[in-house]
Amino acid sequence: MGERESSMLSIKGLSVTVDGKPIINGLNLEVGAGEVHAIMGPNGSGKSTLAYVLAGRPGYTVTAGTVHYLGQDLLALPPEERARRGLFLGFQYPVEIPGVNNVYLLKAAVNAVRTVHGLPEVDAFDFLGLVREKMKLMHMEDSFLSRAVNEGFSGGEKKRNEILQMLVLEPRLAILDETDSGLDIDALKVVAAGVNSQRAPDRSCVLVTHYQRLLEYVVPDYVHVLVRGRIARSGDRTLALELERRGYDFIAGEAA
């Protein structure tokens, strides 16, 4: 299999500024189909910026480099188009939207993807069945169905809701931005089970995380350490364990 065919995400020489301040500085990353990559790094290293840039959030200026997703120029697409083509961002801080029902949003999101593929809208009844099934996996209560998006949710509920959306949308590439932060161990296991259930040869996942704890439950194929906006070191999961033991300083020292 040639490199292009198996490439899910290809980032070359990416530089990003926010309000004129450089945050990402010539970052390279290749994610193949079916792979799980973990991106770790100290606070302020550019992890969340990378996640937002990939999802197309306004306010981030790409000053150099290219990003290809499934062979297409990702940066040329508006955020909604990226989502419809199977890119999913799990937010570090999921947004509360009072007045917009969870199921309505899920259905609108699924239908947006289906429209791109020329499929008819989902049957409301079947859809509800699917959502209930995924909710069970995420240990979510039925009352969730009638609630507004993230409104009054605890931190853990919000994160589980992000994963639920991912399970229902079945993205090709999921970028999960600190989905593990603020979770207790039980919630972490539930979230990890959700992520693991998505692993498939044609689907990839980028886990952005500060701690290696999540990686005990979702075992990554590759671990990258981001320091000052570029990948300072890459390795397998043992790199995460080493970071846990020695802290980020040793790599930051090497990268300096």
Binding site: P78, R82, G99, V100, A108
Partner: protein
């Protein structure tokens, strides 16, 4: 004397034959109201509290009461009846018994017996109403009503402004501990641009509870000036919901007085303006005694070239210790040429109070918008959803489920979104 008051006086003189009802006392009351109005004059846009209202719209109005209609609007033209709620219909200010539920103990329609005249500031349009109103509905509830009484009053406008005005009038008196749910609707039965001056007076005795919904759904050519004054005795609870989506120009003047200790007022207002609509709400809340509470929530959306204004003034008088007032006023600009004016005002004459206010006027929340886009929703749908969400703080206070549904459908229509109906 301005030309406008001249015209009003002339129209009053020429209306004398139709303004004879109610006996000598009523005739004198109308005269007094007119005299007071002549002395005060109608407001002009130079008045601080009237600068957002579209007073120019008065120029095309004729003040004589519109004549009674020959044919009543068909039931199908009116909003669907709400289950278990008695409906009373007025057309152009005239009571329409044929389209109404039977009058009953506590619900009386009668020729207006003009009272002592408006007393609080800026009730000049209430004087206009008093001078020209013919019929009115008087609702008087005491605690012997086994269940909380639920009533709907429809004020239907059909006359064109050039042929005369409509003067709806409602007086609500709650005896101690009485309970009432009142739905007051203003709507159009024809495409005519009507001129409506309505007045509502509320008197809530100790421990009474009033849930009052006012829906303003007039057609886009009509002009409405309404005045609502209310007085709350000790421990009375008044929850007032104003949902305004219609009219070319609508001005609401609210004068609400907390006159008894531990009285509670909740004012929740949602107004939507599009095209060139003007929606102006001016609310004065007066805390006259100790330990009363006020909560104000305003959510307004202005699209196209519309102007939406809310001016909420809270006055805490010297004796009103322990006053608790909260204002959450938010306006949303949904068009580059739209205008939002949101103004909280506090006048506090003692120290022992808790008054909080927040007022914002802005655009849609970027974080929310991006969240929806990141889920694949197209930009237009995401924006409409967020407008919907913006109104939630007001709409969620509508506890009467079938009414809430009607309100939501109306709002979905106003936001031009069939897809939103799925939310309901």
């Amino acid at each position: 004397m301005s030309t406008l008051t001249d015209r009003i006086a002339q129209d009053f003189a020429s209306s004398a034959p139709v303004l004879q009802g109610g006996g000598q006392a009523a005739v004198l009351g109308r005269r007094r109201a007119l005299d007071a109005l002549e002395a005060k004059g109608l407001p002009s846009s130079r008045d601080e509290n009237w600068k957002y209202a579209n007073l120019r719209s008065l120029e095309r109005a004729r003040f004589v009461p519109a004549p009674p209609v020959e044919t009543l609007p068909a039931a199908a033209e009116l909003p669907p009846a709400l289950p278990g709620i008695a409906r009373y219909v007025f057309v152009d200010g005239h009571f329409a018994p044929a389209a109404s539920a039977a009058l009953r103990a506590g619900v009386v329609s009668r020729t207006v017996q003009a009272g002592d005249g408006a007393t609080m500031a800026d009730e000049r349009f209430a004087l206009l109403n008093q001078a020209f109103a013919t019929d009115g509905l008087i609702i008087e509830v005491d605690e012997t009503h086994a269940r909380p009484l639920q009533l709907e009053v429809l004020f239907v406008a059909s006359a064109v402004a050039e042929n005369g005005g409509s003067y709806p009038r409602l007086e609500v008196r709650l005896h101690p501990r009485a309970q009432l749910t009142l739905i007051e609707r203003h709507l159009s039965a024809t495409p005519a641009g009507s001129f409506i001056t309505s007045a509502v007076e509320v008197e809530a005795a100790a421990g009474a509870h009033l849930e009052h919904y006012r829906l303003q759904e007039l057609n886009a050519r009509s002009i409405l000036f309404d005045t609502l004054s209310a007085r709350l005795a000790a421990e009375a609870v008044y929850r007032l919901h104003l949902i305004g989506t219609g009219a070319q120009s609508a001005r609401s003047t609210l004068a609400l007085r907390l006159a008894g200790e531990r009285a509670e007022l909740s004012l929740a207002v949602a107004t939507l303006g599009a095209r060139q609509q003007v929606q102006d709400t001016y609310a004065v809340v007066e805390h006259a005694v100790a330990n009363a509470r006020t909560a104000q929530t305003f959510r307004g959306i202005a699209a196209d070239r519309a102007r939406v204004a809310f001016n909420g003034k809270i006055i805490v008088l010297p004796g009103a210790h322990g006053t608790d007032s909260r204002q959450s006023l938010r306006g949303l600009l949904a068009g580059p040429e739209a205008e939002i004016d949101v103004r909280p005002q506090l006048e506090i004459y003692n120290d022992d109070v808790r008054c909080s206010h927040g007022a914002t006027a802005g655009k849609l929340d970027d974080a929310m918008l991006f969240y929806l886009l990141s889920r694949g929703l197209d930009r237009a749908t995401a924006q409409r959803l967020l407008k919907w969400a913006f109104l939630e703080d007001v709409i969620s206070q509508v506890t009467l489920a079938p009414l809430r549904r009607q309100i939501e459908e109306r709002l979905a229509g106003q936001l031009h979104d069939e897809a939103l109906r799925e939310l309901l």
